[in-house]
């Protein structure tokens, strides 16, 4: 992982964006500028600049392989794990550069939680799944405190009623939809500001999907949510703003209504009307 972009530019961006951005109306959680991402020689993201408002849902849509996941994983530095991946550009979380070393990736990932495409609970108890994050970050003073964090997280993830009698049962024994809500509870437990979701419902049946969508609707009261989805209906249902990616470029971004009813770009129009993708 290397950051080749000049630090000065980073700082500049930080200061210029202290002034309220028109997109976010003064409440921008993430400001990203001139993002280029490479896998080895191959470039996956080209010059993407995107602002993500707080307490709302931003949907990333676009055809398969257009770089939605790649962009999303830059936001909590998950791409650091891929040796050949190189990220350039500016990523500001509340005005702080997340790639500058000012924020440790370990703490960043507590603040920017992530839910993956395939539910991936730890092969441990339900309780332990949720308690693990708070414990390693020292967020609970004692056992009672931790119990409370576990309960509130599971409640927020709309899972508490289903699992309260079997917190010691393995998380991997739950149904797919329950596992995904457990993963959401696990992400919530570290009190993140942002939750990243990479096609969180693509492995689930329609009923479980509907529950996840309801949940996203509730969570946006308190969190900034960025969701990647291949389903345009889902984007239309859950998001406030939508960004359309194509071949690694951000084609268009705007209020979801506008994107779906009156897209400015022809490519967007073609995609949402199903002419490709």
């Amino acid at each position: 992982m290397t950051m080749t972009k000049n630090r000065d530019i980073t700082r500049q961006a930080a200061t210029t964006n202290d002034v309220a951005s028109p997109v976010c109306g003064g409440e921008c959680k993430f400001i990203t500028r001139d993002v280029n991402v490479f896998y080895g020689e191959k470039q996956a993201i080209f010059d993407v600049s995107l602002d993500i408002p707080d307490r709302s849902v931003m949907a990333l849509i676009g055809p398969s392989g257009c770089g939605k996941s790649t962009y999303l994983r830059c936001l909590n530095r998950m791409n650091d794990l891929i040796d050949i991946c190189r990220v350039e550009g500016t990523f500001l979380l509340d005005g702080e550069d997340i790639y500058s070393g000012a924020i440790d990736p370990v703490l960043l990932r507590a603040r920017v939680g992530m839910v993956f495409q395939k539910p991936n609970p730890f092969p441990k108890s339900i309780y332990e799944n949720v308690a693990y994050g708070p414990r390693i970050h020292g967020l609970a003073k004692n056992k009672a405190d931790l119990d409370e964090i576990v309960e509130t997280s599971l409640r927020k993830a709309a899972l508490w009623e289903e699992v309260k009698d079997r917190l010691d049962a393995p998380g991997t024994g739950l149904s797919g939809g329950q596992q995904q809500r457990l993963c959401i509870a696990r992400a919530i437990a570290t009190r993140p500001e942002v939750i990243l979701m990479d096609e969180p419902a693509s492995a689930l049946d329609p009923i479980a999907t509907a529950r996840i969508e309801e949940l996203i609707d509730e969570l946006k009261e308190n969190y900034c949510i960025v969701i990647v989805t291949h389903s345009m209906q889902q984007a239309a249902r859950v998001s406030d703003r939508t960004a359309f990616f194509h071949l690694g470029r951000l084609i268009e971004e705007g209020p979801t209504e506008q994107i779906f009813t009156a897209p400015r770009e022809k490519q967007t129009q073609d995609y949402i009307t199903g002419r490709y993708g």
Binding site: N76, M78, L81, D83, V106, L107, L108, R109, A110, G113, M114, F116, K118, N120, P121, F122, P123, Y132, G133, I136, H137, P170, T172, G173, C183, R186, A187, A189, T190
Partner: protein, 458 residues
Amino acid sequence: MTDRTEQKPSETAKDATAENAAADIDANGRIDWHSPQMLARLRRRHAANRRMKFIGLAAILLAAGLLSILVGSLLKSGLPAFRQTFITLEFDLKPELVKPDNMRRGKWRKIVKEGLLRALPEDMRNNRKLKRKVLKIVSRSAPYALRDHVMKNPHLVGRIIPFDVLASDPYDQFNKGLLPEYVGAGERKRPNPKLGGPEVVRAFRVLKEQKRVSLPFNWGLFFNADSRLPEAAGLAGAIVGSFLTLLVTFLISFPTGILAAIYLEEFAPKNRFTDFVEININNLAAVPSVVFGLLGLSLFIGFFGVPRSTPLVGGMVLSLMTLPTIIIATRAALKAVPPSLREAALGVGASHHQMVFHHVLPVAMPGILTGAIIGMAQALGETAPLLLVGMNAFIPDISNMGITEPATALPTQIYSWADSPERGFVSRTAAAILVLLGFLLAMNTLAIWLRQRYSTKW
């Protein structure tokens, strides 16, 4: 299809599609699933299936057959050694023979001889020829066994006590039907000299008629130390020696191997140096074990001065062998942990080392333990390197064994026994191999059990 095409499957496939395409598909593009070509092709495919099944089954039967021949022959020659002939006699512990103030100087041979003669009828008892040779029936260790028994129980002096003594090896074999009474055939047929003459055999028969001869399970095989006398020799020293050696091996190679594997797999940068290390670890696993023995001899004993013949140096040499096995198994187990688990851990903000130790390692542990146990099982059966570091000492007394005392191990004990000419050692060698195989089987079963019991259910 002709035989020629049968032998060249790739050509067959090409031919088939080319020549049959037109026949199977009619003008409307519809496929005729019941055309003769289609059915013939289907038959060939099923025939290939059956052929494959048959070959596989034959291979398995061959392997099973060879294995059962091996185990069968071992059982045939080894099983008799799991029972041992004892003779129950009454011994008159006269003080003038026992010498109570210094029993070590007692006339124990004489006591045993009198015990034998007491049991025989009058005419035999007075037969001078028999008198001279009657001790051939019992083990030469019998006087010492009786002495040790009386020294432990001094109140017995002056009494007549019943006591079980070991039969000598020829009479043990004779009693099991493994040693013939006569050797040679026809003109040259004569009494077997190993049995000491016809009158001794007759005396043994009398003892047998009196129900003094018994053939109980041979606990001595497991609890006796080694001996020059086959009837008294046991594996206790070898078992303890193998245990101590494996303990040393485990303590050295398990932590080292796991930590090395974790470092290489999870933390090491991927560069030429780590590639080089990796290649060499794989090479190390393929080095013949005798080379490790030579290395141990010159390096550990010659250079570092580790005492020779000890479980310490044996364990060190064997850990050179198990180390690559454990490293490779551990790396494979770590690699098998799904990336989604790593992402899950890092996604909630676990540091790299928390991810490894809290999540990856527990999931990989059954695989690691399996690899370690298999490595240990290999080490248990390893002979050559132990011989080179002198771990085939003669240990007639197991009371002061330790990791820095000379010792022997199971495979080297087998090697020594196999080298002994006495008939009793032939079956004891086979029995020792069975014991070793039993330990190996137990270890492999443990490995399988661990893997099934503790592997993560997703």
